[in-house]
Structure formats: C-alpha cells, structure tokens
C-alpha cells in the first residue's frame, strides 16, 4: 500500500462516520472491502487497531462470512451459486468446465489475475437454476457453452447486455 492514494483517507472517513464504534465492525469491513477490493492482514490489523478490537476477533468475523475476501480477486469475477436448486441442476459440471477451460482452481484466480472463480450459497434465483454471476450480470439457466462464451467475451472486453 505504498502508493497509498486516497484509499486510507476514504477508510478513515468511514471509521469516523461510525464513530470508531466496535459494534460497527461489520459495516466497516463491508466498506473496507469496497474500497480496497479485498481485506488483507495489514488492513485487518489497521481496522482492529482503529476500533480497539482484538485482532483475533476481527479475523474471526472476517473468516466467518464467505462474502469477505482475504486474497486479491481477479479483474473479473465469476461466482457460481452452490444453492440446492443450482446444485441439483448441475452447476458442478459448469464449474468443472470453467476450471478446465481457463485453467484455474475453484476459489482461486488465473495466473494472470484476470479471472477469479468464487462461490456463493443461493442467490435467490432458484427458478433460473443453475445460476452463474459474471461480474454483476446474473446468467440464469446456464449451460457450459453459454457461460464459457460469456466469460470469453468479458475477458475480451466485449460488453454483452443481453441475458
């Protein structure tokens, strides 16, 4: 964080807004992730110090919620829904196909840092199962072919607004 731009200032503003209240830990972690993209150890230590909370507590809360990321995610993020409906409808095969096609492991990123493959539990789109989210776009009734071509388009910088 040597090139430390204004991110720390933005975080400080959030901390002030919450009056450095320890009870606001979750909101602050949310904002910090929004500002930095992910929560690394230095950042967690910083937040723990600012709120006067034990580092182990902050770490515990951060790891409890799968929403919080502790590693730098890729430029583009593919999130697969592992809810029951999506699972039954074969989201596993799609995940395996993505892993194979882009040479990355579930939960990890590609070597060039362009793409991450993450998971979530039920996004509430069970009627459209299996559901995959590419960046902010939800793909319902997904198939291997559709998802892979959409990811390729995204990586290639082609904006695709059709669902």
């Amino acid at each position: 964080m040597a090139t430390s731009d204004n991110r720390r200032i933005r975080l400080e503003k959030v901390l002030k807004e919450h009056n450095y209240q320890e009870s606001a830990l979750l909101e602050i972690l949310h904002s910090a992730q929004e500002i930095y993209g992910y929560l690394d150890r230095n950042l967690l230590m910083d937040i723990a110090g600012s709120l006067n909370l034990p580092p182990s507590h902050v770490y515990g809360v951060t790891t409890f919620y799968s929403f919080f990321k502790m590693r730098k995610p890729g430029e583009h993020i593919v999130t697969a829904c592992l809810g029951t409906a999506c699972y039954v409808k074969g989201v596993e095969q799609i995940i395996a196909a993505i892993e194979k096609e882009f040479n990355l492991k579930r939960g990890g990123s590609t070597a060039d840092g362009k793409l991450s493959l993450l998971f979530t539990r039920c996004i509430g789109a069970c009627a459209m199962a299996p559901a995959i989210i590419i960046d902010d776009q939800v793909i319902g009734k997904a198939t291997k072919e559709i998802v892979i071509s959409k990811i390729k388009n995204t990586l290639g910088g082609i904006k695709d607004e059709t669902v």
Partner: protein
C-alpha cells in the same frame, strides 16, 4: 452485592431454592445434582455450545441447555432421563467423530473431561462415521502447545483469555467443520504479539488440546482458576 429474591423450583423431584437469575445448571450444582457439561465453567460467561447439559422441563417438548436457561419459579426440571442420556451419548460421539480422540496417546489421558464423560455415559465406541480433517499442531510457543486435532471448540480458552486475562489473543476462525482456534490474525503462537503466556488456557482446557510442554498434566490443569480469580476480584 445485592441479593436477588429467592425462587423455588424442582430439579429431579427435589425442591430447591435459589436466587432469581440463577441458571438451572448452577442451581442443580449448588444442590448436589451434577449435570454434565464441557463448555461451561464457573467464572466465565456461559456459552451453550456443547449441548451436553440439555435438560427436560415439564410442559415443554423442547430440551433446554441448563447452562444458559435461568431457573424460573415452579419449574420442574428432569436432568437424567433415558432420552437425555441417549442425546448425551450421541453428542459425545459426535465430538469424538469430529476430531482425533485417541485416549491412549493423549497427554490428557485420565485427566480429560470428555473421556470422563464418555466413561460415565457408557460410550465405549463411536458409532458414527469419523469425519475429520487433519488439523495443525502449533508448538512454536516457548512452552504452550495447541493440538487442534483434540479441540472440541468449547471456547473456554477464548473466554478465559478475553474475560479473565483480558487480552483476547485467542478466537475462532471460519465455521462449521473448518472452525479452529486461532491466535491474533491466525499467527503461529510463538509469533503472537498479544499473548501474555499466562497459561490459563492450558489450565481450563477440558481435553488435551492445549497443554504445557514437558509439564505433567496434573500440574497444569486447574479448572477452578476462573472461579477463583473472579471471586477474588469481586471481594470488595
């Protein structure tokens, strides 16, 4: 200290009077009725995690964890029915199936609350499928060792570190099957900057998960330490 008004309830058919606000567990214990528990420890806040102190209350089909349920007037509590024994046997087996509990090679053999409870309940084998991952043993600290394979996640060490010692070095990370006791930001114990090496965690660990290297377990264990310190602090 102001005394709460006394209330009367029945535990296992015995009429008992306790101050209002007392938990069922404490009320029973003070009157010589022992309800099994692995996470509760006098002097620390109740946690309600091990589910071994579940009791029946007449008039409700639900089971109540005695350590966090306050006694109320006229309550009729059963602490040792066949149904409860059955539940407890299952709970003990689940704890054992979740990690590696091999008494013969454990540092806490014969001084283990889980082992004692298993004996008491007649659990002579684990009927459930073992479901554990290999956890890390951390012996980087000068003398304190944590073997997470034996941890039952009772959080006694975490609570005593926070509430009695006051440093909160220990906490839990992740959840469900992956839950583990950590030091600071998942540091190795030797590198933990906040740990004061006070040994209280080792003293209260109900099993052999935290122990002191080279010290006989009988010398380490002192499960009354929290109660003792709390009583001293409240003396004035």
């Amino acid at each position: 200290m102001t005394l709460n008004p006394m209330i009367t309830l029945k535990i296992d058919g015995v009429q008992i009077s306790v101050p209002e606000g007392t938990t069922i567990l404490k009320a029973a214990k003070d009157n010589g009725i022992l309800i099994p528990t692995l996470c509760d420890l006098e002097g620390l806040t109740p946690y309600g995690g091990c589910r071994l102190c579940l009791v029946e209350v007449t008039g409700s089909p639900k089971l109540f964890p005695a350590c966090i349920t306050p006694a109320s007037p006229g309550m009729e509590v059963t602490t040792n029915s066949d149904r409860l024994k059955d539940y407890r046997r299952t709970a003990v087996q689940m704890l054992m199936a979740e990690r590696v509990h091999i008494c013969a090679v454990c540092v806490a053999n014969d001084h283990c609350e889980l082992q004692a409870l298993a004996n008491q309940l007649g659990v002579d084998h684990v009927a459930l499928e073992r479901n554990f991952t290999r956890e890390q043993i951390d012996s980087s600290h000068d003398f304190l060792v944590i073997d997470r394979n034996r941890c039952i996640l009772c959080t006694r060490c975490i609570r005593i570190c926070d509430q009695i010692e006051g440093v909160h070095t220990l906490d839990l990370k992740l959840r469900s099957k992956n839950t583990e006791v950590i030091m600071d930001l998942d540091e190795s114990w030797g590198n933990s900057c906040s740990c004061t090496s006070c040994r209280k965690c080792a003293k209260v660990c109900p099993v052999g998960a935290i122990y002191i290297e080279g010290e006989p377990i009988t010398q380490t264990k002192n499960r009354d330490v929290a109660e003792f310190i709390t009583a001293r602090r409240n003396r004035k």
